[in-house]
Symmetry: none
Subunit: 408 residues, 2 copies
């Protein structure tokens, strides 16, 4: 029995407020002996940790480095080994489109390519992270000229910087597996792009249309200085996943600045709120909507971005910025507050990693006094121990007095 | 999904070197307040532990005392509840024979028996641990006189001290379950040997042949002073188990002094190297082969032997001997070094036990500074927490940067 099946009959109504803050990629690694969380000056977090249940959560399994999808699914209580969500679907949902079983969604990058003889070589997989407004302009240009390929309607959604999403909308329901197509992104600069190759018969037709899109886009973009090529990643169709609010008996709101995280929340049926700005704007939005929901997922992105860039001090500063904003959450007096990450993104590794992620849970029903700070090594001493990410939702519900007794 | 299925699509090539040292039965229990690991003077291990990820690993499950087979399988990432390898198969493989599905392998002991009226009583289950050369001589004598029983070819393989292996080679593929035959070893001195009793229909024919072997051997050995009887243990057929190198994308070498551990490594497809001598010879062999493989399993036996004998100080001395040899491993600069045991063998218990086993993992990607020594109680403070033995391989691969990200 997975956790959600166990919880189903135990869900009890209540009016308690539950807040889950996800500091994306917050877990780090020591450089010169201290990790990002250890190096940041975060007195509010330290004080909170000292009075909270602390621990470390394993997003998927020991040694497994999660993508953002599995990282978030686990925290939301969905076994990431059972539920797989393609990145294309996440990206497209986050850009505000409603997807159905007729759709294949693809996450795309503008890239910089050069021609060497007959070969196309990718020089920059992100086209120098072109500004979002320029990206939107050329996405509009592509959309104007590519509206249909074969029987697929082509829908383009502008994203942030070099990113956009492609949705191929077919006239009828697709076979499961129709999205099983390899990325065209060669993953490293200096290599040729890969042809979109189907992994099964159902995907073959879709792959042909995807190749057509790449070729037509390349022709249209050929005179662009940097964004003169497109890379397609994360081909995916829409999974049938239980809805968060129904599973847990909660009315939930997701607050984020980045599309993908709102897309993930939409997929499981949360209401979503896109916030412009940074951490303090997100916390203000939390306050403004506090009476209207009982569960809040607040996503903070820049911890991960700095980790990915190998910017140790930058990541520390984001933690410090969150620390300064933390009283704004505490002043709302949530019955249950959880702070964790969806995975670790150590600046040392410049990417996601497999390391367990610090987690703290504050409620009336914790022991506390085990951990002097919200750091990897202090959380290791905490009363939650090393737990699985999917244990977090049951703990939040329990601490919110929203679970009945199991068995007589 | 088990760990190996999860890992399959994530395996990434790399040139990193992974070294796994198994100190057999290293986990202990306090006598006069300190365990063997706590009593041993092991400054190099302590220093290493201080800079490593430490933890305790549960070989099979809480409370379950593993044999050497399950203990090792778990460390190698094979769920010991899914894969069962008979001790006879291990022993025979370790003695250098190639087994097929036509074979039943049995681990045998020479024993000392006395006749009391019509009863045979086992006075020494190991025939005083007779010297290996004498054992080889009488094994040759038996083989000369017993070549065939019914339709089974009889193959005898001399082992160390009182041990030898029996392979019954049938003309055709055996049913699964044909090796399900009870040990004839009464487990305690002063008892009668047990008849080889089949657990199912397929095993009945094999059991009859085994009984014939015991009776013929007893007649041939009746004038021997100590080794005048044989005890049969671990009847087993060959399981179909995935190959280590294919599962993990590694080229692996097993280094050991005892046959059974090489046999286990062979079964999962490792190359094997039998070393004569002790710990320093094994580490020298590691150095000599360091360029030719990327994964090394180094098995050190005597920690277990001393534990089995209840020799607390002897076990401490083996730990100290390993500690003195440790710099020889460190000087190779492995990207990932794991030191653990396949199970605990506390001198207090004089046998294997269920206690979780200390584990340390050294790589660039650990926190460290949690544990001041490689002991049960210090490892408990470590960042690995209490984990399952099957988590070790994923962690070694992750720390060796040999796993791709899971999900988008």
């Amino acid at each position: 029995m997975n956790d959600q099946e166990l919880l189903g009959p135990l869900i009890a109504p209540n009016t308690t407020k539950l807040v889950l803050v996800v500091l994306d990629g917050v877990g780090g690694m020591p450089i010169d002996g201290v990790s990002e969380l250890e190096g940041a000056k975060a007195p509010n977090l330290s004080l909170l940790a000292a009075g909270s249940a602390c621990g470390l959560q394993v997003p998927v399994a020991y040694g497994i480095t999660p993508g953002s999808g599995p990282g978030h699914l686990g925290i939301f209580g969905y076994d990431p080994l059972e539920w797989e969500i393609g990145r294309g679907v996440l990206e497209a949902l986050g850009l505000g489109i409603h997807l159905t079983g007729n759709d294949i969604a693809v996450r795309c990058n503008y890239a910089t390519a050069v021609r060497e003889g007959t070969r196309v070589i990718i020089k920059d997989r992100r086209a120098g992270r072109i500004p979002t407004d320029h990206s939107a302009k050329i996405t509009g240009m592509l959309q104007e000229q590519i509206r249909q390929i074969d029987d697929a309607q082509v829908i383009l959604l502008p994203g942030m910087e070099h990113r956009f999403a492609l949705v191929l909308r077919f006239p009828s329901l697709l076979d499961e597996g129709a999205g099983a197509i390899e990325d065209t992104d060669p993953q490293k600069e200096g290599l040729e792009p890969v042809a979109p190759s189907p992994s099964n018969a159902a995907a073959r037709h879709v792959a042909g249309i995807a190749l057509g899109f790449v070729e037509r886009a390349a022709r249209i973009l050929k005179d662009q200085e940097t964004a003169n090529y497109v890379l397609l990643r994360g081909f995916s169709s829409v999974p049938r996943i239980p809805r968060f609010n129904e599973v847990y008996g909660l009315k939930s709101l997701a607050i984020a600045t980045y599309p993908m995280y709102l897309g993930l929340a939409k997929l499981i049926g949360m209401d979503t709120l896109k916030v412009s700005g940074g951490i303090s704007e997100e916390i203000r939005a939390l306050g403004e909507n506090y009476d209207r929901y009982d569960f809040f997922y607040v996503h903070i992105k820049k911890t991960d971005s700095n980790g990915e860039d190998g910017n140790f001090r930058g990541k520390c500063r984001v933690i410090e910025e969150f620390d300064a904003a933390l009283p704004g959450i505490l002043s709302l007096g949530p019955d249950v507050l959880v702070i964790t990450g969806d995975h670790s993104t150590p600046a040392l590794i410049k990417g996601h990693s497999w390391h367990p992620v610090p987690v703290l849970l504050k409620s009336r029903y914790v022991f506390g006094k085990t951990s002097s700070a919200f750091t990897e090594r202090e959380c290791l001493k905490g009363e939650l121990g090393i737990l699985h990410s999917t244990d977090i939702m049951p703990l939040m519900l329990a601490n919110g007095m929203r679970l009945k007794k199991f068995g007589a």
